[in-house]
Symmetry: C2
Subunit: 255 residues, 2 copies
């Protein structure tokens, strides 16, 4: 099977021109098939504010009412996505920007209201990779925004880490998939203030222990849960790293 590298990048990295350019330069160095999944939360929050729409978060997750859905559709599907696509085209990478609605890529259902009403947030049901595979095999680089649809016309806001792992799992049927979660730090750290405290190999037992001990904390937990799930479902390799190391492959490897 051919190799496919899936890079998930969130946070400031894709939202500031300088760091985005640095990321795209690194991304270019990755050989073989590749796919990028991005976030855009900071820009969404800023645009929402300018439109007079209040951002509400619960446990780091965005409450997405109808107004906020319009904002994330504009920002993730339009502004952030197309800037990345244009930046890749400028580097001779033939990118195509997609949401989960495009090509029927990711079907989801609106999250049922339990303790919290997240609004138009989607939990993934199904990935249709048919046309996506075809594009990847034609050397096209998909750039995927964190939006899904319910196949009845409703767009939904979906966590980008989840989008990345669901795509990685489905595409593992056709490619040897390397999934890199890319953020500000060099990897999972035992001391968040010490960049040299990277855990290079992390297995589920150690993850569980670090969780119990509080060494690995909030934001990183769902990311690693996603990662271990992908690993269990046939994804070749999962790496947590920063933009500088996506080409070198250094960082925290899930084992």
């Amino acid at each position: 099977m051919d190799r496919l590298t899936i890079i998930k990048v969130g946070g400031k990295v894709v939202e500031e021109p300088e760091s985005l350019n640095a990321l795209l330069d690194q991304f270019r160095k990755i050989s073989g098939n590749k796919l990028l999944v991005h976030g855009g939360g900071r820009t969404a929050t800023e645009i929402a504010k300018r439109l007079g729409i209040e951002t509400k978060m619960v446990d780091g997750r965005r409450i997405t009412d109808a107004d906020m859905l319009e904002v994330v559709t504009m920002v993730y599907g339009g502004l952030v996505n197309k800037k990345i696509v244009a930046g890749l085209q400028a580097r001779d990478m033939n990118a195509v920007g997609l949401t989960g609605a495009d090509l029927g890529l990711i079907k989801a259902h609106k999250r049922p209201v339990q303790d919290v009403d997240y609004g138009f947030v989607g939990d993934v049901d199904d990935v249709n990779a048919r046309e996506l595979r075809m594009l990847i095999e034609e050397n096209v680089i998909p750039v995927v925004a964190p939006l899904t649809h319910d196949a009845r016309g409703q767009l939904l806001n979906t966590n980008a880490d989840t989008i990345a792992s669901e795509l990685a799992i489905e595409l593992s049927n056709y490619f040897k998939v390397y999934l890199f979660y890319c953020f500000e730090k060099r990897g999972v750290l035992t001391d968040p203030n010490d960049e040299s405290s990277v855990i290079y190999d992390l297995d589920y037992k150690l993850f569980d222990q670090y969780k119990t001990e509080g060494v690995i904390s909030e934001g990183m937990i769902p990311k690693l849960d996603n990662g271990f799930r992908a690993k269990a479902k046939g994804v070749q390799e999962i790496l947590i790293t920063n933009p500088e190391n996506i080409a070198t492959g250094r960082g925290t490897r899930l084992t």
Copy 2:
């Protein structure tokens, strides 16, 4: 050659849920391959206003400074495009939303400043239909937003009528292309207040005469210029009509 119908829809039609739904229902009835090009100017103007960005128009064309470019990228490439895509998916049509940057589809250059500085407005240089054709042949329905890129990382705002005719011309090398410009009226009218005054067959000589006499006025002139150019370059049929008649094929036919 297979048939391909290209529908260009602008104005309110795609920007209000009811008329959009009606349009998509009609669009579904068209048999064979199809492609949709949309506008979104009213929404762009409204979002710009809410963001405190002033809309400036010259001869019906939007002046696109850096702030306005962000707005149209969000609105055309994100909000309007993804609503249409989700609406088509809900009707079992496998749509993919694209701008001219995606798949390197439409390369343009920034319009040189002459009498007017239009800002980040692009004039089309080149259409790359390679991957687009492949998608169409896989029964995918491209939904194209009126944005292009300069292949050096700059997105540009480009007139949707022009996008439609440029795509129609290029795709005429591979398909028998039917290009429909869809707007509020039943066709080109000799009396703008009388919907029964549709000119059913319009050749260039008659167009020229009506222009001189002032029967055909401002907004319609560049649309028809685009249409006659497409006709001269091998597009099978060009029709000016309203959403109700895209399936029946009634309206003004350029001959």
